[in-house]
Subunit: 291 residues, 2 copies
Amino acid sequence: VAVAARESQVCLGLDPDPGRLWPTAHEAVGGGPPEARAAHAVLTHCGALIDAAGPACVAVKPQVACFERLGAPGWSALEAVCEHARTAGLLVLADAKRGDIDVSAAAYGQAFFGGTETPWGHVRGLEADALTVNPLLGGDALAPLLAAARAGHGGLFVLVRTSNPGAADVQELPLVEGGDVAGRLAQLVGALGETGEYGIADVGAVVGATAPGALARLRDRMPHAPVLLPGVGAQGGRVEELAPAFAPGRAGGLVTASRSVARAHEAAGGDPAGAARAEAERLRAAAWRIS
Amino acid sequence: VAVAARESQVCLGLDPDPGRLWPTAHEAVGGGPPEARAAHAVLTHCGALIDAAGPACVAVKPQVACFERLGAPGWSALEAVCEHARTAGLLVLADAKRGDIDVSAAAYGQAFFGGTETPWGHVRGLEADALTVNPLLGGDALAPLLAAARAGHGGLFVLVRTSNPGAADVQELPLVEGGDVAGRLAQLVGALGETGEYGIADVGAVVGATAPGALARLRDRMPHAPVLLPGVGAQGGRVEELAPAFAPGRAGGLVTASRSVARAHEAAGGDPAGAARAEAERLRAAAWRIS
């Protein structure tokens, strides 16, 4: 629905590096310890990036690691960035790649979705629309995360075939039963998801845009899964090769781009906001065309 | 070294549930929003648990999910708990099961180990002695985490065979090359680790104490790896079956127990601190005997 309304399948990655923020982020940082100042600058940077590129996007994907390294102020900045994105009408996909067993998985579900009941009252969670999760621990470890996601009408994106060169180390190991580990993970995604009224399931897959061959091969094991496609741009993936992602419909694929948008001005020149807006719009049009 | 000095291979799991803290944690919580009060109580609880059971242990293992669900105050509490443990002479193994690619993995390395250089000064990391990591993304994704660990003279514990019933879903898939996924992960652990002067490598493995058969089978692929053994107690693992863990020496295995120590009083009666101390000491003696 959000995809159709915005005519966009672009997910804006937010991976703020304190050493490479937009110049505007350095203004009005204020005082306090380094982590508070850095977190403030990161928040300003992400807000400006959302304001610039957001209109061409359907969602943001904050990389949680980039906030976590700034400690408690970083976590507060993450909450504020998510709020800023929601206010701009964007979905929030928390890229945290979490995975743990039973009560610990449930605790991550509380952290990223609805929150925690305590004797001192309700503690809000991040209230994300979706979370990236790691399936190495098996189906029972994903269940509490999926329950938490569904309680907030959200979903999960399960790592199936990542965009890095070393992904093959484990994910492409050939299995006795036929296929490889990624194929088995795709099957798990297909089995876990419940398909809603728009033909799109609530459990999706992360499949690197750097491996378009794998994408075509995995699609039939998870016909209704939305696919999150990182690796376009800085990592070398090309949006034109991703047509199989959109098999179940235009919302079947979300193209994510982070550095190629945030640092578009380094290649294209011009001010950071204008260059980011132009690059996000270029991606939006390219993805919409093939879908 | 730490193991020998303390004659203990017990790692105290810290998985605080705001709804089941020791009664002392409810005193002096103070005011403020629910997340600040809950985080304060969690910190008090963990401090009391460390003071009670710590003398029988060599390390603490905070479950990061339990802190993260309390937002920024939770992260501050995690930092304070780690500091408390270090002051008590205990190693800190952050149980976060992180895994991500290139720059994101490096950002997690900054978060959990040495910290981050920013234009506003150095932001401290958690300065953990070790971190649990998820190897699904392959060797190149673990490299930045290992580099960060080594820079602080720390190490990693890689998930190889987890303690949950669903672990078999992915980890025990039989491979065409022979063995299963867990076997291949054990081989990765063996290859990544550098063995120090005490015959123990700086890359270890997480192998559930609920699967002692798998432990014996995996040991020869990673002869020098320290093995973190969750699942003793509440999850049904028995310390008496874990002898293969200690093949490379007494520091070759770390037995972790969380709920069975923190909630020992629920079964044994008595005050929580005394029951926790007794249960931790019982585990310490049992593990030392078989090693």
